[in-house]
Amino acid sequence: MKQFIIFIRKEFWHVFRDPKTMLLLFGMPIAQIVLFGFALTNEIKNVNIAIVDQSGDWAAQELIQKIQANRSFSQGLLLNSEAEVEEAFRQGKVKVAVMIPPNFGLDRRRTEGSQIQIIADASDPNTATTLTNYATAIIQDYQKSDLLPGQGPLQIETQTRMIYNPELKGATNFVPGVMALVLFLVGVLMTSVSIVREKETGTMEVLLVSPFNPILVIIAKAVPYFFLSLVNLTVILILSVLLMDMEIAGSLGLLYLSSALLILTALSLGLLISNSTASQQTAMLISLMAMLLPTVMLTGFMFPLENMPWPLQVISNIVPSKWYYIIVQAIMIKGQGLASVWREMLVLMGMTTVFLTLSIRKFKTRLA
């Protein structure tokens, strides 16, 4: 046991002495949170909108004011003709335009009604759809307030409630995603390099000749990264609560427990890679190339898994981050307990057991 602690202490020295490791370990989560939080946001705010008012009556004025007051849109570029709108689109000045037809104020009270045209720049289809939805919502809202008492057709009203995330904050989507991505990748990368490094420098031979138990070499290698990953998780959580106004709805203890489980899965996969390769470069390449893309694509936080062709959906089941992402969403955002996430946790446990068994088997106590 004393030898084991000595070994772990040595592993910590390795980590703290290597600026690259430290940067990767702590720089990556911070960079990710800041990137996703401030730069790569999919919330739409202050979009430039063009408004053409061909009627010039007070009803149109009221509608324009409503649009301008909405925080999704900027003050609005007031234009006079369709030609000017086209020009504004071409120059990229606006993303969306609203055309109010002549006689809007009068026509809106007639049975034929009045038609407002919304034009959107669909070079980015997702943004275009969102913008037209926003504009339509504002117009419908106006229509409702515009009805005279007791007048107007019977209509079905839809009431939309955005549960778990009523403010539609982007953070609720990306924080669990970043956690799933960062904790997993950092874990795999760090451990995959660590054993190979000893093989490369020749110290592994000396360790194998020593009375130190070879299985403990594997475990001791993983211990520092386990604790540092937990520190990492704490940094991510603090950043998201303080900077992103995230709330942690469920139990913090359960969140840490399930994160510890994901970290273990990542570390055991890293050890497996480490035991199957001969050089640090190969180990790094495998853990980056083979892990990065599937983790980013198939975890479900960038691209919804439900829309993928079924072979990809099947493959996504072997991506550990996918299961963890489900767990984190359930605990952190929906505030659910162990009862709703135990299946996913079992999957992670199973994966860890498989990886660990394989890597202990692959670890050669004799070199040839």
Binding site: F7, V209, P211
Partner: protein
């Protein structure tokens, strides 16, 4: 005399290639045993079998009285090993390397402190104890690696080409360390291909194409071949070799 290594018809084959072919020899306590041969002669394979890094294909051997098939754990406690590759941690300081290796060999706190101090004093590394090993010159690193390998006072230490790439002065100092260790009763099993170093050994064996072609004191070998240097002995022996680069 106490026998520390006893090998009998020890062989190792990799597929069709017989790296080490039925070598038999004995090494005695306190002896400096030189294990010579050209590159590819089977030296490293033999040394790896003896320290338990590699399983022999056939043959018997005991190290410090322990069987190399069944009692590897006991063997590990009684040997030291310095590999061909330089085997200290470059990103750890001199003192930390000593603490780590002493620690995994199970030295107690007090023993560890005494042993570390002795190494540092013996090598004159008082100023460097808190420096990273990567900042030391190669010769010092190798002397330190050797001292680390015998820090737990093993019965036997294996040195696999310990002086590769070192200047002659440092090599001389390195051999002084080896003689000091042998005088303390540590048996030294050393491979080298520097023939001048063979002169420093008590007895040497010559490996040619995986077989042990000669085993005697340097003086007797020179007499046997009628030459005046080990270089010439080696040349005479290696002339018939098929495997060399």
């Amino acid at each position: 005399m106490e026998v520390v290594i006893k090998a009998e018809k020890l062989s190792k084959a990799f597929g069709d290639f017989i790296a080490t072919n039925a070598i038999s020899f004995e090494v005695y306590k306190g002896e400096i045993f030189g294990f010579l041969g050209a590159n590819g002669a089977g030296k490293t394979t033999a040394i790896r079998m003896l320290c338990g890094l590699s399983k022999p294909s056939s043959g018997e051997a005991t190290i410090a009285g322990f069987d190399i098939y069944r009692e590897t754990e006991s063997i590990k406690k009684n040997i030291g090993y310095m590999s061909q590759k330089f085997s200290l941690y470059e990103d750890l300081t001199v003192a930390e390397n000593l603490r780590f290796y002493g620690g995994i060999y199970g030295l107690g706190r007090k023993e560890l402190k005494e042993a570390s101090e002795a190494v540092i004093k013996n090598l004159g590394l008082e100023q460097e104890r808190k420096k990273l090993v990567s900042s030391l010159p190669l010769g010092w690193k190798q002397k330190l690696a050797f001292s680390v390998a015998i820090m737990h006072e093993p019965k036997l230490v294996f040195l696999d080409e310990p002086t590769g790439g070192v200047d002659p002065v440092t090599r001389r100092q390195f051999w002084d360390l080896i003689h000091q260790a042998a005088a303390r009763g540590i048996t030294v099993f050393v491979t080298t291909h520097y023939m001048d170093e063979a002169e420093y050994c008590d007895r040497i064996s010559m490996m040619v194409d995986g077989e042990m072609k000669a085993l005697d004191t340097p003086r007797n070998l020179k007499k046997q071949f009628g030459v005046d240097s080990m270089d010439a002995v080696f040349y005479e022996m290696a002339r018939g070799a098929k495997r060399s680069d």
